[in-house]
Symmetry: D2
Subunit: 349 residues, 4 copies
């Protein structure tokens, strides 16, 4: 056991969907002690009164977020806050000497101008360069020394795990890539708005923010080193009538001479030994294969008739797309085996 | 009133999902008398015992299919049978002098060799040339004299209504087209197989038959006259956890200089006066907009960053994708206004 | 045709779920002209921008509610407003000489003290006595002369249609009745609250307001004339993960000697000739049998082992439970056949 | 650690829904080695090809059931087979000296005549007396020596945990009890029948087998010792459009003078220290509180107006209602702490 002392962990923003998922896993993590949970709207309440599934299992009370208190109670802090609410809090926590894994969007883009273009002017731009973009399979070398991890967005996690091995090996054209992604509603957080009501979502499907979603620049930032200026990627998200899960159907054009075996070799080579990457060449993976887990499953099909290829990537947006990957990052930061506390099987059916 | 005598109508294969949808509409069609409904497995039963929603509303008994009986009872017959079961029955009905609208796949491909490649050798290939491919908006001139109408597949209906106006006007490249389509489970018919069980479908999404679905050659057959040999189209269907509805997200590359206004002009020109085509430029249409109707709603977005365009098409797979379009065809065959008996609003929410 | 001049109709509160359902039916009602639709939050917008399913089908603009304008435009007004918002508007409309069908709760209880106990002090108590409780099958004699109809609640509609024939014939004990009802979420209206989010409702079931729901006194008011002081009824509602539909499982104790045939005779006698009551003795009705319709389907089972009986009643809460029954009342008020414009079959599946 | 040697475990009937749930838990149970999984229809296949969620996580191959092979490979066997298929296999396994936990119905009724009345004549009636009815909270004293455990049905588990403490303390009348239960579709197993298709179940609710479900005699058998001949219980199950979970709304009549505090004391006294019983007096429990867990949550409300009380019990039908309780029983049989390998939190949302 590498860590006889448990890691003391706080969750800032514990009552959103990502917060609830962090708590589900952290409460049973063998090397973690969950010491603080915060919520501005529910401060003072017992966690079990807000999240009934922990009744009788976890005796914690929600507090308002106070960086000094949290820094005293925790070695590492997960911040799971709405857009723009993270940055100032993260800065305050770092000043107080704790490590932070931010699950919001505030530190994912390295370029402050790009951030301003898609979001708002960044309140603490000096931290952008320091933040490690936490796609664990590609950043783990930097994690033991990281103070601040920017946990990737859910859509980029799926798209990058599928595309990066192919672009890095120059197996596909860098332009004309299409990411047609379909997500469960929890991807939008616990957002009390009419468009997320049951009666609006059930038995429906809608495309939204076509070519205009904020996760597109995040994908491009991470792929440009392998594709150069030629990179062009169109990202179209859809909202599914399900709670959790993303399935991304990704359309690419293989370079001349590249076949399905070359795709297989690329993925096998890239992900050999990875515990959370599941390769499924014979059958395209389905969302249910991974719900409740930290897995990303990948499948691929090359279509000789049209000269195109299709890569299917599935994740649980709250798992590998948020809370799961955040804990995987925490494990790597603290020298624990990455699957520690994350080694679940999907709840099927 | 163009038709003082009601049209006598039979539904062969009345207990599948398309059969039930035909009955829902035909039972309230002001110019129709529903005279016969058949089912091999439920022959002899009252229709209300198989389809409880008609109890107290429609007093019909299911019979086994006998072409002579059906031809005596009906002027026009809708055949809604599983794959391969239609062709012989259709031939027998035509010989007995009734008109047939076939909602299966048996008469959609004009080329018997192509049919054999995707299905099986065709049992009555001489009828392939005669069948009118019944995408009403494009074939209505031929309907008054048609003996046999091949009602289009659900996926092709959505894709063709979106793509044909653009290809016919040479606004987009004919190669590299991607049709990423998502369908409710009734698209597969009342298929009692494990993959359609509630516990397998609910809260899941899966891609299937990637680049290998039988609706692809149907799309190509209908588009090739406008695109020539350069046509290349990749079709990827997905199964949604909903009962009805298709949303097709279609990726195309506009020709140089073509902008969103050109797309708008093309659709407006093509579909001026069409009662079942709804153009929705400002907001991409959603599946719920059309469920329970015979509508196809179209939206489009041009993405300057990547030089691609996205067309979103939605239909109810049992409406415009099957029973609704079949009745629209019947109306046109008999000189009735096409919306007769079909002029419903969507049940929302 | 009894009414050559169409009835001019207004919908006040047109953008809630009941408003949308009224519009769906009224837009195709052969004797109705929809002249005004109001919404406080969306005033000024085209209806099609708020309710996309009417795009291309209905060209109306939402206005803010002005009783004088509405009274000028309409002969009859449907008010579908949140709790407490109806009463003053209804009074203003009546003063201006139009007839009103109120789909809220404001005029359902005849006793102002009882109303105050469950809701708030009534703003216009003098109107309570005048309002006709609009369970059409039992009040139609009073409708031709009614100025104000209080459309019944969705749960009471199901419970009363099941229980009243049995109590009126003294077939069951009046005490110990249990109404265990399960409803789709639209029963709560378009309520933007966390508990109605898709991610909270999907794959869940919850009981709520056990023995404390405001529809209980409405049921008791209508049943007490047949049961007297001995009436005791426990009402427990549940929220289903579906959009529409109520299934009420009602537990009663038959009087000594009463058997299933007696139940059948009671229902057949009571509902002979009723177009919207479907009796289903052999198979308990299911919610899907009636979704999208104005029907109420009833089934019953007597259990010799325990001396109890179970009556199952299903309705669409937006149909017979709200908009459908309101239109049925309008038809009766204006001397039209009750099924006019309501004669739909359920959309199945 | 009480058991340094892992328990060798086999699952007979591994590809049904209960089998899959057993595997999900057993694969991560710290004291278990899963040595054999059987399936008649899929024998010879890799488990991951049938249950994709285990790909990369569990390397097992399905075999046809051979009692000798299974008895050689395992110390304890879970049998999760369709009705009637268990009994002969269980007998064969017991003869070979292994312990068996049967999750089917074959050994739940102690009386062979009662079994014959509800099912068929029992093939091995001599084993009925030996089988321990495995409602763990009430049978754990007998488990260390048990050879054969009859795991309770899902509905009885919920009903018995709610009713037994009240009847044992004589707090309620023993007659006139109503169990109105609502279950997800996996309660019917992986049953490939039309009534379990997605398009039939989604957005629907149906009552079935009113007063005639085979779980009723199981409830009565276990309650009669506390209620005597006066016991009368009406059980009405409903099929919900969800995958997992049961909510039972139970109607009882408290004895004179019994109040909510008395109910609370009964449940607290009965279930003090129980890790899988969650008491929720202030808020009725919801299905989502327990999905994916081995918990049973209980709430209660006394209604002074009608003199009735309502107990709400929720379980996951595949958890405490099947696989979870089976593993809890296994733990108790082998002297392990009951929560071993079962200590999950619910996946919410």
């Amino acid at each position: 056991m590498p860590s006889p002392e448990p890691i003391r962990v706080a969750v800032v923003g514990a009552t959103g969907y990502t917060g609830a998922e962090l708590i589900r896993w952290l409460a049973r993590h063998p090397q973690v002690r969950l010491t603080a949970v915060t919520s501005e709207q529910r401060a003072g309440k017992a966690l079990a009164d807000v999240l009934p599934s922990v009744r009788g299992k976890l005796d914690l009370r929600l507090a308002s977020f106070d960086p000094t208190e949290v820094a005293r109670a925790a070695d590492v802090v997960f911040t799971a806050l709405p857009l723009g609410a993270s940055a100032p809090g993260v800065a305050a926590l770092l000043e107080r000497g704790v490590r932070v894994i931010d699950i919001g969007a505030d530190f994912r883009l390295r370029d402050a101008q790009e951030y301003a273009r898609w979001y708002v002017p960044h309140p603490v731009p000096h931290l952008l360069a320091e933040a490690v973009y936490g796609l664990t399979e590609f950043c783990r070398d930097r994690l033991p020394d990281a103070r601040l991890v920017a946990n990737p967005g859910c859509y980029p996690t799926a798209a990058l795990l599928a595309l990066r091995p192919l672009l890095a090996r120059d197996l596909i054209e860098p332009h004309g890539i299409v990411v047609d992604a379909k997500s469960g509603v929890t991807g939008a957080g616990r957002n009390v708005a009419a468009e997320y009501l049951f009666a609006e979502v059930d038995d429906n499907l809608r495309a939204y923010k076509i070519g205009a979603h904020r996760h597109a620049p995040e994908m491009e930032q991470e792929l440009r080193p392998f594709a150069g200026a030629a990179l062009s990627l169109l990202f179209v998200p859809h909202q599914l009538p399900i709670r959790r899960g993303i399935l991304a159907t990704i359309y690419v054009r293989p370079r001349s001479g590249v076949d399905a075996a070359a795709f297989a070799r690329a993925f096998e080579e890239q992900y050999a030994g990875e515990r959370f990457i599941v390769l499924s060449a014979a059958r395209p993976p389905e969302i249910r294969d991974v719900v409740g887990t930290n897995d990303c499953a990948l499948g691929w099909t090359l279509d000789a008739r049209t000269g195109q290829a299709v890569v299917v990537a599935v994740i649980d947006n709250l798992g590998k797309g948020a809370a799961g990957q955040a804990i995987q990052n925490m494990n790597a930061m603290h020298g624990l085996a990455e699957p520690t506390g994350l080694d679940y099987l999907a709840v099927v059916p």
